[in-house]
């Protein structure tokens, strides 16, 4: 079997990641940090977009999945793998062999939790689902806070520094590849069908339950991988890093990117990660300005930043006369 063109693009991104990673000693450490953070946020936003944007299940539990991935992956590299293979605890072996397995374990554990968190979506919609998933995320966080074996409220310290540009760029590319490949297929249009009209979707034979759970599981899997990368990048994790503000931050990237628009969501993830960095010079006003800009963006383009309509609206004050963008004809009742 020959892989498709997208698959070759994925391989290209992985190759670029390894080249950058090998040359990373030449890159300013600050930029390196920012680049890794951007890539992790891209993974989180693109995977949440499958749940929120394409399938229309408004979930605010993404930080919970991230937490599961972070704790499971860190436990793998710190405790489980050295326990199983005492001989193989050299940093090189952990970085090259144990770490990918740890990421995978974190992703799978988060995916499993995705089944649980996705289950309410079979009955609840909109705001109610958002509240329930937010609650799930908090429950996961509280569980970790009370697990003494992973450091309780203090969290885990001394996680091996396995995350590098190679792994983050590869995983971001893999996430984008997986989500877009799924969605851009006859099978994958079912996600959007579920979002558009569940009754009509069922009527043409779409198993809405299976689609929703699949979206949650796949989305959670990649959030778990992002969590594993995050832990092995920050080298210490504690439950506070995965609170609902993190979920909201990721949801904002999806909303600003334009729900169900992967390119827009990637750009939004990059911008929203860079924005606080760019605002560093204004020191104490930084977060205030950041919040203000967010509110402004939400007010001016609730449909998402990266839609042709947005640019038309931005330009409309300057193109007097043709002020409002042409709306689609109203749907007949």
């Amino acid at each position: 079997m020959m892989p498709g063109r997208r698959f070759l693009l994925l391989l290209g991104a992985v190759a670029a990641g390894s080249v950058l990673s090998l040359q990373s000693h030449r890159i300013n450490p600050y930029f390196l940090d920012v680049a890794v953070t951007v890539a992790i946020n891209v993974i989180l936003a693109v995977s949440l977009n499958l749940i929120n944007g394409y399938t229309g299940q408004f979930s605010l539990g993404h930080a919970g999945f991230m937490a599961i991935g972070a704790y499971i992956a860190a436990s793998t590299t710190m405790f489980w793998a050295p326990g199983l293979l005492p001989a193989a605890s050299s940093p090189g072996f952990i970085g090259m062999a144990v770490f990918p397995a740890a990421l995978l374990a974190g992703g799978l554990a988060a995916g499993l939790a995705g089944i649980l968190v996705g289950a309410p979506s079979l009955r609840l919609k909109g705001d109610y689902l958002a509240i329930v998933t937010l609650g799930f995320g908090e429950i996961i966080r509280v569980i970790f806070r009370n697990l003494e074996s992973v450091g309780g409220a203090l969290g885990l310290n001394g996680i091996p520094a396995c995350t590098n540009l190679f792994w983050t760029i590869s995983m971001a590319a893999l996430t984008i590849y997986a989500v877009t490949s799924m969605v851009h297929s006859t099978y994958g249009r079912g996600f959007t069908a579920v979002q558009d009209d569940e009754i009509a979707a069922e009527a043409i034979g779409i198993n809405t339950t299976r689609y929703k759970i699949t979206a949650f599981v796949v989305g959670a899997f990649f959030a778990g991988i992002a969590g594993g990368l995050y832990g092995h990048f920050k080298l210490s994790i504690d439950p506070r890093g995965f609170d609902f503000m993190k979920s909201i931050e990721i949801a904002l990237m999806v909303i600003l990117g334009g729900m169900g628009n992967t390119v827009g969501v990637i750009i939004a993830a990059i911008l929203l990660t860079l924005l606080p960095e760019l605002l560093r010079p204004v020191a104490e006003y930084r977060m205030m300005l950041y919040s203000f800009l967010l509110i402004l963006l939400m007010l001016t383009c609730p449909q998402g930043l990266f839609q042709p309509r947005f640019f038309r609206r931005l330009l409309s004050p300057f193109l007097r006369g043709s002020a409002a963008p042409a709306e689609d004809p109203p749907r007949p009742a």
Partner: protein, 271 residues
Amino acid sequence: MNAPASPLLELRGCTIRFGGLTAVSGLDLAVGERELLGLIGPNGAGKTTVFNLITGVYRPAAGNIRFAGSSLAGLRPCQIASLGIARTFQNIRLFPSMTVFDNVRVAFHLHLLSGIAHALWRGRTFRAEEESIESRVMEMLEIFRLGRHRGAAAHSLPYGDQRRLEIVRALATRPRLLLLDEPAAGMNPSEKSELMRLIRFVQERYRIAVLLVEHDMHVVRGVCQRLVVLDYGVKLAEGVPEDVLRHPKVVAAYLGEQNTPRRAPAAPAES
């Protein structure tokens, strides 16, 4: 003409209540293989509810429904669709944000050989299947004169085209029975006669049975081989259109309708 001997779809003693209201009461209904059956009755008679019972949206409180020899009891709507029952809705239900093309394409997923793993790997099998679906979708869109709209968002289509697209989407699931809920509603006379041609064409070309709910008696007469009349959830009459429409009980039911806000049979359907 009587009910078919070995029907494709058979309802026996189906009853459903909403609170104190018995919307459908002890209904027996049979649709033969490749039959064009009309289900008529005044507004609120329970016609749409019958569709919802058949497609598994509601469960009957009593009675059973069999399709192609097996019982539909306890099946989900998506399972019933996969057995070969497709429908349209009285208030059009397209996937509004998706393109015309994708509205039809997604309905092909029932017969997909490739699943999520193929979509991820995108190998030759996957691409071959996607290409064949693409050409079949385009063929259907051309047949139903929607080809030039293929890239448009479904919600931006004119009303008549939306109705037609909904029928095409239903056909793309390759049904053996097609349920049409007031397809002529909101159409002008020329659209209506085109719709009549379309229904007859669909039944012949795809060799399927059609159960048609329709208020426009001209359309009903022009399309249906047999009629079942429903009033207050009860079957009033059944038979060939000429007889049924002259049946005293049927005339009375529709006359009664003229004195109440219900709709008259011969009047052009509003909305």
